[in-house]
Assembly symmetry: C2
Homo-oligomer: 162 residues x 2
């Protein structure tokens, strides 16, 4: 069973556990990129246990430069070869524009708003998989998490050609 399949299977059980772990290398060679949203308990949603996966989170669960920096560390120093990018329903970045967000926040930034999850996931996974220094990453999946039902929808899969 692949790491991605394990994520999906575990999500059906939706259970978490904990233990002391000495090794900094994620036991499942996995990193999860997801949104900061308060309604997402990543370990519980994906059935992850302590020590199994890096968890990278920001507004939207978007693949920003900072996520690429983090994944460079994950993949080259700590053995990660599989990444799950998980956006979610009812996200604050969905259906808004950069202009609206600049107006509300007073910050002159690019906010990575999301018009359509499937499109945003494909764009983000393109950025990730085309980043030359992330060559150790072999498998990427794009999910949408439903914050109401607790279920994940499996939207994009990518494997590095051999």
């Amino acid at each position: 069973m692949t790491e991605i399949a394990r994520l999906i299977a575990a999500n059906e059980g939706y259970a978490a556990a904990r233990a002391n772990v000495a090794d900094a290398r994620p036991g499942r060679r996995l990193a999860v990129v997801t949104c900061m949203d308060a309604r997402i308990d990543v370990f519980a949603v994906l059935g992850l246990h302590l020590g199994e996966a890096h968890v990278i989170r920001n507004a939207g669960g978007r693949v920003t430069d900072d996520v690429l920096r983090s994944l460079a560390i994950s993949s080259h120093l700590l053995g990660v070869d599989t990444v799950a990018v998980m956006q979610h329903t009812k996200c604050g970045l969905a259906g808004v524009s950069d202009e609206e967000l600049r107006e509300v926040t007073g910050a002159d930034l690019g906010f990575y708003p999301i018009a359509h999850h499937a499109t945003a996931l494909r764009e983000d996974i393109d950025v990730l998989t085309r980043t030359p220094y992330l060559a150790p990453i072999r498998v990427v999946a794009g999910f949408v998490y439903d914050v109401e039902s607790g279920e994940i929808d499996d939207v994009v899969r990518w494997e590095r050609p051999t």
Copy 2:
């Protein structure tokens, strides 16, 4: 009891729970910024429950531009006024240099390495508290989490002058 005190008190119990939450606004008006490290279950470490806090994670738990972007959304759109920045012992970014990380990863990036946690936390909290568009944030704390004992050390506190 302040939000920061609640974090510390909850850490002694080290328990997590879950429930369905409809509101996107974090119930405790709190955001936690921490490392992607696989040995950190943020909800469990800080006794957070679903719906209570934004969780922002990257390599090192550093206050990068992407963290500022995320906190702009947290604070202006979703009511967050308190931030905990939590670095941790045995971090892969501690005791290494940008030069070494560029050599290992092949990525010409600034990696935000950590020479001393107390210094890095103070620098990061300075960046956060001096960012003009993050004025809604009133309280910031800097913690170091011990991945072996499970305990947090309370290193920096800041409150916006009234």
